[in-house]
Protein backbone atom coordinates (compact mmCIF):
# COMPACT_ATOMS: atom_id res chain seq x y z
CA UNK A 1 0.00 0.00 0.00
CA UNK A 2 1.44 3.34 -0.98
CA UNK A 3 1.84 6.11 1.54
CA UNK A 4 -0.78 8.18 -0.23
CA UNK A 5 -3.46 5.57 -0.11
CA UNK A 6 -2.67 4.79 3.52
CA UNK A 7 -2.97 8.34 4.75
CA UNK A 8 -5.73 9.78 2.62
CA UNK A 9 -8.68 7.65 3.79
CA UNK A 10 -7.88 8.75 7.34
CA UNK A 11 -9.07 12.24 6.59
CA UNK A 12 -11.29 12.51 3.53
CA UNK A 13 -12.26 16.05 2.65
CA UNK A 14 -15.68 16.47 1.18
CA UNK A 15 -17.18 18.82 -1.34
CA UNK A 16 -20.90 19.36 -1.29
CA UNK A 17 -22.71 20.53 -4.41
CA UNK A 18 -26.40 21.16 -4.84
CA UNK A 19 -27.58 20.34 -8.35
CA UNK A 20 -31.20 21.31 -7.97
CA UNK A 21 -32.23 19.52 -4.82
CA UNK A 22 -34.96 20.69 -2.49
CA UNK A 23 -32.42 21.57 0.25
CA UNK A 24 -33.63 18.68 2.38
CA UNK A 25 -30.57 16.56 1.80
CA UNK A 26 -28.25 19.58 1.78
CA UNK A 27 -29.28 20.40 5.29
CA UNK A 28 -28.68 16.84 6.36
CA UNK A 29 -25.19 17.16 4.90
CA UNK A 30 -24.77 20.30 6.96
CA UNK A 31 -26.17 18.56 10.00
CA UNK A 32 -23.27 16.12 9.64
CA UNK A 33 -20.81 18.90 10.31
CA UNK A 34 -22.55 20.19 13.41
CA UNK A 35 -22.29 19.13 17.05
CA UNK A 36 -24.79 16.27 17.10
CA UNK A 37 -23.16 14.16 14.35
CA UNK A 38 -19.84 15.98 14.11
CA UNK A 39 -17.98 14.04 11.44
CA UNK A 40 -14.94 16.22 11.94
CA UNK A 41 -13.87 13.78 14.64
CA UNK A 42 -13.20 11.29 11.80
CA UNK A 43 -11.14 13.88 9.97
CA UNK A 44 -13.94 14.66 7.53
CA UNK A 45 -13.88 18.36 6.70
CA UNK A 46 -16.21 20.21 4.38
CA UNK A 47 -14.05 21.95 1.80
CA UNK A 48 -15.88 24.07 -0.68
CA UNK A 49 -12.98 23.86 -3.08
CA UNK A 50 -12.97 21.03 -5.64
CA UNK A 51 -9.18 21.10 -5.78
CA UNK A 52 -9.02 20.07 -2.12
CA UNK A 53 -11.80 17.52 -2.17
CA UNK A 54 -11.61 13.74 -2.07
CA UNK A 55 -15.28 12.81 -1.76
CA UNK A 56 -18.01 14.65 -3.64
CA UNK A 57 -21.39 14.67 -1.92
CA UNK A 58 -23.87 15.50 -4.65
CA UNK A 59 -27.52 16.25 -3.93
CA UNK A 60 -30.32 16.86 -6.38
CA UNK A 61 -31.52 15.33 -9.64
CA UNK A 62 -29.06 17.44 -11.72
CA UNK A 63 -31.03 20.11 -13.51
CA UNK A 64 -30.13 20.84 -17.12
CA UNK A 65 -28.45 24.09 -16.14
CA UNK A 66 -26.32 22.44 -13.46
CA UNK A 67 -25.23 19.55 -15.64
CA UNK A 68 -22.21 21.28 -17.17
CA UNK A 69 -21.24 22.76 -13.78
CA UNK A 70 -21.31 19.37 -12.12
CA UNK A 71 -19.15 17.93 -14.86
CA UNK A 72 -16.70 20.82 -14.49
CA UNK A 73 -16.51 20.29 -10.72
CA UNK A 74 -15.87 16.58 -11.24
CA UNK A 75 -13.12 17.30 -13.74
CA UNK A 76 -11.49 19.83 -11.42
CA UNK A 77 -11.29 17.40 -8.52
CA UNK A 78 -7.88 15.69 -8.47
CA UNK A 79 -7.77 12.01 -9.20
CA UNK A 80 -8.47 9.78 -6.24
CA UNK A 81 -12.05 10.94 -5.98
CA UNK A 82 -15.30 9.29 -5.02
CA UNK A 83 -18.82 10.41 -5.70
CA UNK A 84 -21.69 9.90 -3.25
CA UNK A 85 -25.20 10.55 -4.55
CA UNK A 86 -27.18 11.78 -1.52
CA UNK A 87 -30.88 11.13 -1.47
CA UNK A 88 -33.48 9.61 -3.73
CA UNK A 89 -33.39 12.38 -6.25
CA UNK A 90 -29.62 12.27 -6.65
CA UNK A 91 -29.81 8.49 -7.04
CA UNK A 92 -32.66 8.26 -9.54
CA UNK A 93 -34.52 11.55 -9.74
CA UNK A 94 -37.56 9.73 -8.38
CA UNK A 95 -39.25 12.50 -6.36
CA UNK A 96 -39.34 14.69 -9.47
CA UNK A 97 -40.07 11.98 -12.01
CA UNK A 98 -42.78 14.02 -13.76
CA UNK A 99 -40.78 17.23 -13.93
CA UNK A 100 -39.17 18.03 -17.25
CA UNK A 101 -35.97 19.90 -16.50
CA UNK A 102 -33.59 17.39 -14.98
CA UNK A 103 -31.36 14.45 -15.91
CA UNK A 104 -32.79 11.78 -13.56
CA UNK A 105 -29.91 11.40 -11.20
CA UNK A 106 -26.22 12.09 -10.83
CA UNK A 107 -25.11 8.88 -12.54
CA UNK A 108 -26.39 10.11 -15.88
CA UNK A 109 -23.70 12.81 -15.73
CA UNK A 110 -20.72 11.53 -13.72
CA UNK A 111 -19.80 8.07 -12.36
CA UNK A 112 -21.26 7.44 -8.91
CA UNK A 113 -19.72 5.16 -6.26
CA UNK A 114 -22.22 5.15 -3.41
CA UNK A 115 -25.97 5.78 -3.48
CA UNK A 116 -27.73 6.95 -0.33
CA UNK A 117 -31.47 6.25 -0.22
CA UNK A 118 -33.99 8.37 1.60
CA UNK A 119 -35.93 11.51 0.97
CA UNK A 120 -34.41 13.21 2.85
CA UNK A 121 -31.55 10.84 3.64
CA UNK A 122 -30.80 10.64 7.33
CA UNK A 123 -27.44 11.91 8.60
CA UNK A 124 -26.69 8.42 9.93
CA UNK A 125 -27.12 7.03 6.41
CA UNK A 126 -24.78 9.70 5.10
CA UNK A 127 -22.08 8.78 7.62
CA UNK A 128 -22.53 5.17 6.56
CA UNK A 129 -22.14 6.20 2.92
CA UNK A 130 -18.92 8.06 3.58
CA UNK A 131 -17.55 5.03 5.45
CA UNK A 132 -18.53 2.80 2.50
CA UNK A 133 -16.82 5.22 0.15
CA UNK A 134 -13.63 5.04 2.21
CA UNK A 135 -13.73 1.24 2.13
CA UNK A 136 -14.14 1.35 -1.60
CA UNK A 137 -11.18 3.70 -1.71
CA UNK A 138 -8.97 1.18 0.04
CA UNK A 139 -10.06 -1.65 -2.23
CA UNK A 140 -9.46 0.46 -5.32
CA UNK A 141 -5.90 1.17 -4.28
CA UNK A 142 -4.34 -0.35 -7.41
CA UNK A 143 -7.03 0.57 -9.87
CA UNK A 144 -6.84 4.34 -9.70
CA UNK A 145 -5.01 4.85 -12.97
CA UNK A 146 -7.79 3.09 -14.87
CA UNK A 147 -10.41 5.07 -13.03
CA UNK A 148 -8.76 8.34 -13.84
CA UNK A 149 -9.49 7.69 -17.48
CA UNK A 150 -13.14 7.08 -16.72
CA UNK A 151 -15.36 9.87 -17.99
CA UNK A 152 -19.07 10.37 -17.56
CA UNK A 153 -21.55 9.76 -20.38
CA UNK A 154 -21.67 12.30 -23.20
CA UNK A 155 -23.81 15.41 -22.77
CA UNK A 156 -27.22 14.74 -24.27
CA UNK A 157 -27.84 18.32 -25.32
CA UNK A 158 -26.13 21.56 -26.12
CA UNK A 159 -24.72 23.53 -23.18
CA UNK A 160 -25.61 27.18 -23.02
CA UNK A 161 -23.56 29.37 -20.69
Amino acid sequence: MSRRSRSRPRSPWILHFDTGSCNGCDLEVWALLTPRYDVERFGIVNKANPKHADILLITGPVTKKCEARLRALYDQTPAPKLVVACGNCASTGAPFQDAYNHCHGVDSVIPVDVYVPGCACRPEALIDAVVLAIEKWRSLDQGWTEREKEKGPELGHEVRP
Partner: protein, 360 residues
Protein backbone atom coordinates in the same frame (compact mmCIF):
# COMPACT_ATOMS: atom_id res chain seq x y z
CA UNK B 1 -9.90 56.72 -11.72
CA UNK B 2 -10.79 53.70 -9.58
CA UNK B 3 -9.83 50.31 -10.87
CA UNK B 4 -12.78 48.07 -11.69
CA UNK B 5 -13.05 44.32 -11.67
CA UNK B 6 -15.76 41.67 -11.89
CA UNK B 7 -15.89 38.81 -9.44
CA UNK B 8 -18.14 35.79 -9.92
CA UNK B 9 -19.85 34.22 -6.90
CA UNK B 10 -21.19 30.70 -7.21
CA UNK B 11 -22.96 28.59 -8.39
CA UNK B 12 -20.76 26.55 -6.08
CA UNK B 13 -19.50 28.77 -3.28
CA UNK B 14 -18.49 28.08 0.33
CA UNK B 15 -20.94 30.54 1.85
CA UNK B 16 -23.97 29.60 -0.24
CA UNK B 17 -25.76 26.37 0.35
CA UNK B 18 -27.50 26.56 -2.98
CA UNK B 19 -26.53 27.25 -6.58
CA UNK B 20 -26.91 30.99 -7.04
CA UNK B 21 -24.71 32.94 -9.39
CA UNK B 22 -23.78 36.57 -8.71
CA UNK B 23 -21.53 38.72 -10.85
CA UNK B 24 -20.24 41.48 -8.61
CA UNK B 25 -18.73 44.52 -10.33
CA UNK B 26 -16.23 46.22 -8.06
CA UNK B 27 -14.68 49.65 -7.96
CA UNK B 28 -11.65 49.12 -5.74
CA UNK B 29 -13.27 47.46 -2.70
CA UNK B 30 -16.76 48.84 -3.17
CA UNK B 31 -19.60 47.11 -4.97
CA UNK B 32 -20.68 49.06 -8.04
CA UNK B 33 -23.26 46.67 -9.39
CA UNK B 34 -24.55 43.13 -9.20
CA UNK B 35 -25.96 40.81 -11.84
CA UNK B 36 -28.03 37.92 -10.61
CA UNK B 37 -28.41 34.65 -12.43
CA UNK B 38 -30.99 32.15 -11.26
CA UNK B 39 -32.49 28.99 -12.64
CA UNK B 40 -29.92 26.45 -11.49
CA UNK B 41 -32.59 24.77 -9.44
CA UNK B 42 -35.45 24.79 -11.91
CA UNK B 43 -36.86 21.28 -12.07
CA UNK B 44 -40.35 22.00 -13.36
CA UNK B 45 -42.37 21.11 -10.27
CA UNK B 46 -45.43 23.17 -11.21
CA UNK B 47 -45.79 21.05 -14.35
CA UNK B 48 -45.31 17.84 -12.38
CA UNK B 49 -48.02 18.99 -9.96
CA UNK B 50 -50.64 18.86 -12.69
CA UNK B 51 -50.49 15.06 -12.76
CA UNK B 52 -52.17 13.98 -9.57
CA UNK B 53 -53.74 16.05 -6.81
CA UNK B 54 -53.15 13.41 -4.17
CA UNK B 55 -49.46 13.05 -4.85
CA UNK B 56 -49.07 16.82 -4.60
CA UNK B 57 -49.32 16.76 -0.82
CA UNK B 58 -45.90 15.14 -0.93
CA UNK B 59 -44.57 16.75 -4.09
CA UNK B 60 -45.30 20.28 -2.84
CA UNK B 61 -43.07 19.56 0.16
CA UNK B 62 -40.25 18.84 -2.27
CA UNK B 63 -40.39 22.40 -3.57
CA UNK B 64 -38.28 23.36 -0.57
CA UNK B 65 -36.83 21.29 2.22
CA UNK B 66 -36.53 24.18 4.65
CA UNK B 67 -40.17 25.25 4.62
CA UNK B 68 -41.66 21.98 3.36
CA UNK B 69 -44.59 21.89 5.75
CA UNK B 70 -45.57 25.44 4.86
CA UNK B 71 -45.79 24.43 1.21
CA UNK B 72 -47.93 21.38 1.78
CA UNK B 73 -50.17 23.20 4.27
CA UNK B 74 -50.77 26.03 1.83
CA UNK B 75 -51.53 23.55 -0.92
CA UNK B 76 -53.90 21.66 1.38
CA UNK B 77 -55.63 24.89 2.37
CA UNK B 78 -56.07 25.86 -1.27
CA UNK B 79 -57.66 22.45 -1.97
CA UNK B 80 -59.83 22.85 1.11
CA UNK B 81 -61.09 26.07 -0.39
CA UNK B 82 -61.83 24.23 -3.66
CA UNK B 83 -63.75 21.42 -2.00
CA UNK B 84 -65.23 23.23 0.98
CA UNK B 85 -63.90 20.62 3.42
CA UNK B 86 -63.04 22.19 6.77
CA UNK B 87 -60.02 20.90 8.67
CA UNK B 88 -60.86 19.74 12.19
CA UNK B 89 -59.88 21.83 15.18
CA UNK B 90 -57.23 19.37 16.29
CA UNK B 91 -55.75 19.26 12.79
CA UNK B 92 -55.49 23.05 12.68
CA UNK B 93 -53.63 23.12 15.97
CA UNK B 94 -51.32 20.28 14.96
CA UNK B 95 -50.58 22.13 11.75
CA UNK B 96 -49.79 25.25 13.75
CA UNK B 97 -47.38 23.32 15.96
CA UNK B 98 -45.53 21.87 12.99
CA UNK B 99 -45.52 25.17 11.10
CA UNK B 100 -43.90 26.87 14.05
CA UNK B 101 -41.43 24.05 14.70
CA UNK B 102 -40.37 24.36 11.10
CA UNK B 103 -40.09 28.12 11.45
CA UNK B 104 -37.68 27.59 14.34
CA UNK B 105 -35.54 25.22 12.29
CA UNK B 106 -35.58 27.62 9.35
CA UNK B 107 -34.72 30.75 11.35
CA UNK B 108 -31.95 29.06 13.31
CA UNK B 109 -30.59 27.79 10.00
CA UNK B 110 -30.68 31.32 8.56
CA UNK B 111 -28.95 32.80 11.60
CA UNK B 112 -26.37 30.03 11.70
CA UNK B 113 -25.80 30.52 8.01
CA UNK B 114 -25.11 34.23 8.54
CA UNK B 115 -22.67 33.36 11.32
CA UNK B 116 -20.95 30.93 8.95
CA UNK B 117 -20.85 33.56 6.18
CA UNK B 118 -19.08 36.02 8.47
CA UNK B 119 -16.66 33.33 9.66
CA UNK B 120 -18.12 32.99 13.16
CA UNK B 121 -17.91 29.18 13.27
CA UNK B 122 -18.55 28.90 16.97
CA UNK B 123 -21.92 30.61 16.82
CA UNK B 124 -22.82 28.65 13.71
CA UNK B 125 -22.36 25.44 15.70
CA UNK B 126 -24.47 26.81 18.56
CA UNK B 127 -27.35 27.68 16.27
CA UNK B 128 -27.18 24.30 14.61
CA UNK B 129 -27.21 22.52 17.93
CA UNK B 130 -30.50 24.20 18.77
CA UNK B 131 -31.78 23.49 15.30
CA UNK B 132 -31.02 19.81 15.72
CA UNK B 133 -33.17 19.74 18.85
CA UNK B 134 -36.13 21.01 16.84
CA UNK B 135 -35.43 18.56 14.02
CA UNK B 136 -35.76 15.84 16.62
CA UNK B 137 -38.97 17.33 17.96
CA UNK B 138 -40.38 17.31 14.43
CA UNK B 139 -39.23 13.72 14.14
CA UNK B 140 -41.09 12.91 17.34
CA UNK B 141 -44.35 14.45 16.13
CA UNK B 142 -44.34 13.37 12.49
CA UNK B 143 -41.80 10.58 12.16
CA UNK B 144 -39.68 12.53 9.70
CA UNK B 145 -36.94 15.09 10.03
CA UNK B 146 -37.26 17.16 6.88
CA UNK B 147 -40.40 16.32 4.91
CA UNK B 148 -43.08 15.63 7.46
CA UNK B 149 -45.59 14.09 5.02
CA UNK B 150 -48.33 15.01 7.46
CA UNK B 151 -50.87 16.96 5.43
CA UNK B 152 -53.98 15.65 3.81
CA UNK B 153 -57.14 17.23 2.52
CA UNK B 154 -59.11 18.26 5.60
CA UNK B 155 -56.48 17.55 8.21
CA UNK B 156 -53.31 15.70 9.01
CA UNK B 157 -52.35 12.06 8.62
CA UNK B 158 -50.95 11.24 12.03
CA UNK B 159 -52.00 12.06 15.54
CA UNK B 160 -49.86 12.82 18.55
CA UNK B 161 -50.37 11.05 21.86
CA UNK B 162 -50.85 13.13 25.06
CA UNK B 163 -47.55 11.79 26.47
CA UNK B 164 -45.70 12.77 23.33
CA UNK B 165 -47.30 16.23 23.45
CA UNK B 166 -46.17 16.64 27.06
CA UNK B 167 -42.66 15.47 26.22
CA UNK B 168 -42.48 17.88 23.29
CA UNK B 169 -43.60 20.82 25.45
CA UNK B 170 -41.05 19.87 28.09
CA UNK B 171 -38.24 19.85 25.56
CA UNK B 172 -39.33 23.14 24.06
CA UNK B 173 -39.41 24.78 27.47
CA UNK B 174 -35.97 23.39 28.22
CA UNK B 175 -34.61 24.86 25.01
CA UNK B 176 -35.99 28.36 25.65
CA UNK B 177 -33.17 29.54 27.99
CA UNK B 178 -30.58 28.40 25.46
CA UNK B 179 -32.36 30.26 22.67
CA UNK B 180 -32.52 33.37 24.88
CA UNK B 181 -28.75 33.15 25.36
CA UNK B 182 -28.31 33.05 21.60
CA UNK B 183 -30.66 36.04 21.26
CA UNK B 184 -28.34 37.95 23.62
CA UNK B 185 -25.41 37.15 21.36
CA UNK B 186 -27.26 38.42 18.31
CA UNK B 187 -28.32 41.56 20.19
CA UNK B 188 -25.06 42.47 21.88
CA UNK B 189 -22.03 40.59 20.61
CA UNK B 190 -19.50 43.05 19.20
CA UNK B 191 -18.30 40.80 16.35
CA UNK B 192 -21.85 40.24 15.23
CA UNK B 193 -22.74 43.94 15.51
CA UNK B 194 -19.67 45.04 13.56
CA UNK B 195 -20.48 42.80 10.64
CA UNK B 196 -24.23 43.45 10.49
CA UNK B 197 -25.10 46.87 11.95
CA UNK B 198 -25.73 49.41 9.19
CA UNK B 199 -24.80 46.87 6.53
CA UNK B 200 -27.07 46.17 3.57
CA UNK B 201 -29.77 48.66 4.47
CA UNK B 202 -33.17 48.67 2.85
CA UNK B 203 -35.31 51.68 3.75
CA UNK B 204 -39.05 51.47 4.26
CA UNK B 205 -39.72 53.24 0.96
CA UNK B 206 -37.43 50.86 -0.91
CA UNK B 207 -39.01 47.88 0.83
CA UNK B 208 -42.47 49.05 -0.26
CA UNK B 209 -41.15 49.65 -3.75
CA UNK B 210 -39.78 46.16 -4.10
CA UNK B 211 -42.79 44.66 -2.30
CA UNK B 212 -40.63 42.50 -0.07
CA UNK B 213 -42.30 40.15 2.40
CA UNK B 214 -41.55 38.29 5.60
CA UNK B 215 -38.68 39.13 7.96
CA UNK B 216 -37.05 41.35 5.32
CA UNK B 217 -40.15 43.55 5.20
CA UNK B 218 -40.68 43.43 8.96
CA UNK B 219 -37.07 44.53 9.51
CA UNK B 220 -37.71 47.58 7.31
CA UNK B 221 -40.69 48.82 9.27
CA UNK B 222 -43.58 47.07 7.51
CA UNK B 223 -45.57 45.16 10.12
CA UNK B 224 -47.15 42.72 7.72
CA UNK B 225 -47.76 39.15 8.76
CA UNK B 226 -50.17 36.69 7.17
CA UNK B 227 -50.60 34.83 10.43
CA UNK B 228 -52.93 37.65 11.52
CA UNK B 229 -55.38 37.42 8.64
CA UNK B 230 -57.14 34.95 6.40
CA UNK B 231 -58.80 31.67 7.18
CA UNK B 232 -55.65 30.24 8.70
CA UNK B 233 -55.22 33.11 11.20
CA UNK B 234 -53.94 31.97 14.56
CA UNK B 235 -56.51 34.02 16.46
CA UNK B 236 -59.26 31.74 15.12
CA UNK B 237 -57.83 28.94 17.24
CA UNK B 238 -57.46 31.17 20.28
CA UNK B 239 -53.69 31.62 19.97
CA UNK B 240 -52.33 34.99 21.04
CA UNK B 241 -49.96 36.36 18.44
CA UNK B 242 -48.46 39.74 17.57
CA UNK B 243 -46.08 40.32 14.65
CA UNK B 244 -42.52 41.36 15.43
CA UNK B 245 -41.09 44.24 13.46
CA UNK B 246 -38.27 46.74 13.61
CA UNK B 247 -37.36 49.97 11.86
CA UNK B 248 -33.61 49.85 11.18
CA UNK B 249 -33.77 47.91 7.91
CA UNK B 250 -30.16 46.66 8.03
CA UNK B 251 -28.80 43.13 8.26
CA UNK B 252 -28.83 43.30 12.03
CA UNK B 253 -32.54 44.16 12.11
CA UNK B 254 -33.27 41.18 9.88
CA UNK B 255 -31.29 38.95 12.23
CA UNK B 256 -33.09 40.37 15.26
CA UNK B 257 -36.52 39.87 13.69
CA UNK B 258 -35.63 36.25 12.99
CA UNK B 259 -34.25 35.71 16.47
CA UNK B 260 -37.30 37.22 18.19
CA UNK B 261 -39.61 35.25 15.92
CA UNK B 262 -37.81 32.07 16.90
CA UNK B 263 -38.59 32.70 20.55
CA UNK B 264 -42.14 33.70 19.67
CA UNK B 265 -42.62 30.54 17.59
CA UNK B 266 -41.68 28.38 20.55
CA UNK B 267 -44.26 30.20 22.63
CA UNK B 268 -46.94 29.80 19.95
CA UNK B 269 -46.10 26.07 19.84
CA UNK B 270 -46.52 25.79 23.58
CA UNK B 271 -49.86 27.63 23.42
CA UNK B 272 -51.09 25.39 20.61
CA UNK B 273 -50.03 22.23 22.43
CA UNK B 274 -51.86 23.35 25.57
CA UNK B 275 -55.03 24.07 23.53
CA UNK B 276 -55.12 20.57 21.97
CA UNK B 277 -58.42 18.79 22.58
CA UNK B 278 -59.39 15.22 21.81
CA UNK B 279 -61.00 14.71 18.43
CA UNK B 280 -60.49 13.48 14.88
CA UNK B 281 -57.46 14.74 12.99
CA UNK B 282 -59.01 14.79 9.52
CA UNK B 283 -62.38 15.43 7.89
CA UNK B 284 -63.46 12.81 5.36
CA UNK B 285 -63.50 13.56 1.65
CA UNK B 286 -64.35 11.36 -1.32
CA UNK B 287 -64.02 11.97 -5.04
CA UNK B 288 -62.02 14.53 -6.95
CA UNK B 289 -62.00 18.29 -6.39
CA UNK B 290 -63.34 20.68 -8.97
CA UNK B 291 -63.06 24.47 -9.04
CA UNK B 292 -60.56 27.14 -8.09
CA UNK B 293 -58.89 27.80 -4.77
CA UNK B 294 -56.33 30.18 -3.36
CA UNK B 295 -54.44 30.19 -0.11
CA UNK B 296 -51.77 32.18 1.69
CA UNK B 297 -49.53 31.35 4.60
CA UNK B 298 -46.64 32.92 6.41
CA UNK B 299 -43.63 30.78 5.51
CA UNK B 300 -40.36 31.48 7.37
CA UNK B 301 -39.28 33.76 4.53
CA UNK B 302 -42.61 35.51 4.09
CA UNK B 303 -45.93 35.24 2.38
CA UNK B 304 -46.41 32.04 0.40
CA UNK B 305 -49.31 31.67 -2.03
CA UNK B 306 -50.84 28.73 -3.86
CA UNK B 307 -53.49 28.90 -6.52
CA UNK B 308 -55.09 25.66 -7.63
CA UNK B 309 -57.48 25.00 -10.49
CA UNK B 310 -59.06 21.55 -10.40
CA UNK B 311 -61.25 19.96 -13.03
CA UNK B 312 -62.94 17.03 -11.31
CA UNK B 313 -60.42 14.42 -12.45
CA UNK B 314 -57.33 12.99 -10.74
CA UNK B 315 -55.23 15.65 -12.45
CA UNK B 316 -55.28 19.40 -11.94
CA UNK B 317 -55.47 22.12 -14.56
CA UNK B 318 -52.86 24.32 -12.97
CA UNK B 319 -51.01 24.88 -9.71
CA UNK B 320 -49.41 28.28 -9.38
CA UNK B 321 -46.92 28.92 -6.60
CA UNK B 322 -45.61 32.31 -5.52
CA UNK B 323 -42.81 31.88 -3.04
CA UNK B 324 -41.48 34.58 -0.70
CA UNK B 325 -37.86 34.30 -1.80
CA UNK B 326 -38.96 35.14 -5.31
CA UNK B 327 -39.71 38.73 -4.26
CA UNK B 328 -36.99 38.99 -1.61
CA UNK B 329 -34.04 38.22 -3.89
CA UNK B 330 -34.30 41.04 -6.51
CA UNK B 331 -33.72 43.94 -4.04
CA UNK B 332 -30.28 42.43 -3.33
CA UNK B 333 -28.90 44.65 -6.09
CA UNK B 334 -30.03 47.70 -4.15
CA UNK B 335 -28.78 46.42 -0.78
CA UNK B 336 -25.32 45.55 -2.12
CA UNK B 337 -24.77 48.88 -3.87
CA UNK B 338 -21.79 50.71 -2.38
CA UNK B 339 -21.03 48.04 0.24
CA UNK B 340 -17.61 46.57 1.01
CA UNK B 341 -16.89 43.46 -0.98
CA UNK B 342 -16.25 41.44 2.18
CA UNK B 343 -19.84 42.09 3.27
CA UNK B 344 -21.41 40.56 0.17
CA UNK B 345 -21.91 37.03 1.59
CA UNK B 346 -23.38 38.38 4.84
CA UNK B 347 -25.87 40.63 3.06
CA UNK B 348 -26.90 37.95 0.59
CA UNK B 349 -27.45 35.41 3.34
CA UNK B 350 -29.23 37.95 5.55
CA UNK B 351 -32.22 38.05 3.18
CA UNK B 352 -32.24 34.26 3.43
CA UNK B 353 -32.47 33.55 -0.29
CA UNK B 354 -34.04 30.19 -0.95
CA UNK B 355 -33.12 29.27 -4.49
CA UNK B 356 -35.05 26.03 -4.63
CA UNK B 357 -38.24 27.92 -3.71
CA UNK B 358 -37.54 30.61 -6.29
CA UNK B 359 -36.68 28.33 -9.17
CA UNK B 360 -38.91 25.35 -8.31
Amino acid sequence: MPRTSTIPFGPQHPSFLEPLHLRVRLEEEKVAGVDLSLGYNHRGIEYAMEKDWKRNFFLSERVCGICSFHHSTTYAQALEMVTGVQPTERARLLRTVLLEVQRVTSHTLALGHIAEAMGYENLFMHFFREREEYMRIANEISGNRVHYCMNWLGGVRRDISPEAAREVSRRMEASLPRLRDLADVVRKDSTWLKRTKGVGSLSKAQAEDWAVVGPVARASGISYDVRLTGNAAYSLDGIKFKPIWREEGDSWARCMVRMDETLQSVEVCLQALSLLKEGPVASPFKGNPSGEGFSRNEAPRGELMYWVKANGTAGLDRVQVRTPAFVNIPPLGEMLQGEQFANVPVIVVSVDPCICCTDR
